[in-house]
Symmetry: D3
Subunit: 236 residues, 6 copies
């Protein structure tokens, strides 16, 4: 990160990244970090919105967030299953983008099945990306990411056994909301924006700030001074 | 922390801080942060070492670590019980020192009973310190700490439901070892130094560094950019 | 409950019940269930509000909620510790009121220390209330409650290992808000009302309703048909 | 449920439903709720009983329980693996039957592998059933179930992080036992009936009733009065 | 244990040991291990039975089990609270008896409050017993126990995060039942015997044996060959 | 085990068994137990070492450990996915070798993806091995193993909800180290040997012995006297 390595964020559907951690993307991008979004379906199994409409909405949202966007076709919406082939495909994306931090949906189950499947795939891919002997990836140099975080699309999707990192998005709220509302086919159908803002405000209140998005580190965080982790959420 | 607020570390016995997180103390101190150690017994129930010897050893260790040291008499070694009066006493210490970060033994049970009792006391004290209406503390202005971390004196004392922060102490290892060995009455009796170095090396290996001490945040950590938490321990 | 047994709710401070589960109290009361509130301090350690002001606010809130109110003096605000004597005192309250359901603060720690202490006390008291040989209680007939639920004053105080019951308070929201705002000394100091409404709205959204308060059953719930538990929160 | 929506119960093998929650099926059916059983293999990998015998036994048991029965062929006994295609197949069953409550084996692993696989499949299927854009299901109107419960075929299969709902089957015990014994090829081989009755009696004792079957809600339960959840199991 | 060190079992009430792990006591005693029971109240808060009756019943039960029995007066029935003084008292008992294995009630809460309090006290006492500097114990040589196990008086009291050791009591069932029934004032009042036999049979069935009692090791078990732990409970 | 049934250990890669539990294998073999190792890839996706080199290294290591070795080809290194066909293949291996104890990598995720996949496969295979009706296995008599243990290749791979069995390998340390170092292509690349010895020494210190390897029982252990489980790790 010190070398301004890109941030790479994965989503299973065209709106997952925006709803789950759009504020983080907006802020990192504005802070000068190159951000890449990889979306693994066109949302074609959803109740509203055609694949074309949803792809266009996603491009608009990415543009608002200042992030690049790629679609990777895996099994299709509501059909995603973790497989070695998919993990290798995503490892290829990681080797091409060579990110520092990677963010993926959490592996918590009992939500949209694609989310946990993608979380597992990304977790596997982040390891495969550094293994030197994966034949399909031989033309891309191995790459070790610096860390993996999970985002959650609902309270229920938050891992209960990982203490979250609360990311303050207060100063980038307008961008986040705009990116969520770019998915107009979806936000007309269900109160997704309110769901996310309510969660972020709830977290922000406990941290004594405006709005915060919870990220869940997959591995212990390594520091060499307390200063970087010196603020805790303990207002109540 | 940005204002260089002091670091305050609590120990139940004269050697707990050194064994549990002495490397953190050494490094923070060397980085320029004022560090205060509060020790809550003279170790008088231990199998070896008199209270006088142990107090002297503790002063030597604090000197090596570059930290100030105060003894607070509570119930005595092996007799510590969380009580409102003790919590108020420790809240007074917090109000006087006005730390940013506070570090205490973990609240995990099934170890030396004093450790978890003190962990609970410190946790309570950190709240009482900010409540305006505690009569005994009326002469000390309320103070809100920025965060609370737990250290563990053994693998078994590590909270299993908190993902640790690994603090790299590699460049301060000699100071840490010296501080532990200052407790010569103890290190002659049991392989405490090896226990801690083995744990720290095990953590360091998984982080790809030398030695690391695991700290466990009591509350979610708040950040406003990923850079501060961008390194994860994921070497294997 | 079928016999309209009273509901008994415990709070450690004058505003805990209102903030933590005031909507439940409002609704049960309006549905015709006699509701008793037992408050175990005058909030004298708080940063704002005198004991007199806070007692008056609490009476107003209870009146808004349609509940009776008793103060029980235990150790005082910020000093509460679970003890056998206190458990017997609260068991006496249970024997006098003879409730069906009892609601207390959760036993989750790392929040205001009084909350978890009271949660443990109530849990113990609910057992003592039915033991026939407790000498101090010999003039009050033993009583077995039908169930015990916990409420949480913040997201962090919610037990992570109990799946909550979401209680729909949508049609009683105005009463709940009024009861919270009756604690005017407190709500001027911190965004307590917003904290609770944000949490309740977040839960309500996941249940497809307006606002919901999470209650956590201490024991398995017993039913004799699925109809009573047939609605789950699964909107996302 | 208020509209008497059917109950839909899934089993991986011909006897799973009867052993795991047959008493619930018997009682709901007797209370007037239409109950449908969907069984996903013929038990052909078992040590005793041919597929034909086991299918016949299952039909007898369903008849005793007053439930309809369908076999859905997936991968076969001991070969079941969660896949998108299977989830869509089961979502189709859900759309056809349009249940309120759905009951499936728990997702706890380290038991017969088919059980957890089916639990995951049903959990996914219950979401796919309400997504409007799943091509294979386009001829069946989307359907949202009201709730999902898990049953466990052994103590070890009970989810440890969900507080169970204990369903009182005392008045329907004879029907339940008859349905289990209808699987005569199996009950001759192993003490399955005793295993289930022992578990149910153990749960019943803690609830102060006769026999109870533990069901585990996949999502928080939503209520609008305490009366429906007012009885807790707290006899000891 | 290889030197036939005594087994020491603690109970909070006159019947706890018998109901919770009487079969283990019976068998160890019959195998030639000296067994000591320490009971910490006379059961005077119970609904039935006077302290005199209950003491007599307990002596009869101990005699049946072939164990010695001591009463230690702490706070009295339903009033037990962990304190340093009590821990030292019990550490004294440990130093006198010098056991290999110690068994105590589990520290799981939400049961009779005395049980978890005693569990904590014994856990602390087992450490204090080996600390050389505890003044009150200076006339008794320090002693390190070999291991600590917890027993549970109900399914709900079983620690959920410890995989149990199942102790086969099938060949000593009659002795166990006789010891439980020696508490005739209690077994007339509630189906305690059935509760325990049901639990033990349920465990036995999953292990393919008759009846088994679950013990929960407080610490990792150390072995030097697999043979001693080579049988697992995996019948279903 | 009493009949000296073989020990069967599974590894996903040529060095997993040696690094994860080589000391156990060495000691059991030396104690006279026939040990079989089944390795499920040639390590062809690793960064260093060809499949040929790694196979040769594995044979050398097995020879040092006194164990027989078979390679089973499944999906290949970094591609392993649990499937019914693979589970049946491994069940066949179990039926042929007819072991008492089986040891496999843990099912904890967020490590090399093959490890958890193999752990699940072995867990399933151990059940399929005893089901009489699996067509592909009809020529091999069903076999019930006596128990299943997991090993972990790193601290992070240790199951957090199972209390480990610590296996004392102190007297077989040289053999273990030799077997690890036989994988010379690997140990030159990363400090694998130090990682494992550090972990084993850390466990050994807490048990008061030299080095210990943690094994995690998949099921409750069944004993009929305390002697076999009478030593606990409780030195600190």
């Amino acid at each position: 990160m010190s070398d301004n390595l890109p941030l790479l964020v994965f989503g299973a559907h065209p709106d997952d990244i925006e709803f789950g951690c759009g504020g983080v993307v907006a802020r990192e991008s504005r802070l000068g970090c190159p951000v890449h979004m990889v979306v693994c379906s066109r949302g074609e199994a959803g109740s509203v919105g055609t694949p074309e409409i949803r792809s266009t909405e996603c491009l608009s949202a990415a543009s608002i967030l200042g992030a690049s966007l790629d679609f990777v076709e895996l099994d299709g919406d509501a059909r995603l299953r973790s497989s070695a082939a998919h993990a290798i495909t995503l490892a290829g994306a990681i080797r091409r983008i060579r990110p520092g931090v990677v963010i993926s949906p959490s592996v918590v189950e009992n939500q949209h099945p694609d989310h946990a499947q993608l979380g597992r795939l990304v977790r596997d891919a982040a390891r495969l990306a550094r293994f030197g002997g994966v034949a399909e990836l031989s033309e891309l140099a191995p790459h070790s990411i610096s860390s993996l975080f999970y985002y959650a699309l609902s309270l229920e999707a938050e891992p209960r056994d990982i203490c979250p990192i609360l990311y303050d998005v207060s100063s980038d709220l307008a961008l986040w909301v705009a990116a969520m509302e770019a998915h107009s086919s979806q936000v007309r159908a269900k109160p997704y924006v309110e769901l996310q803002l309510t969660r972020a405000r709830s977290r922000g209140l406990s941290a004594g700030i405006g709005h915060a998005i919870a990220l869940f580190p997959a591995d212990p965080i390594v520091v060499d001074r307390l200063e970087s982790v010196a603020t805790g959420a303990r207002c109540f």
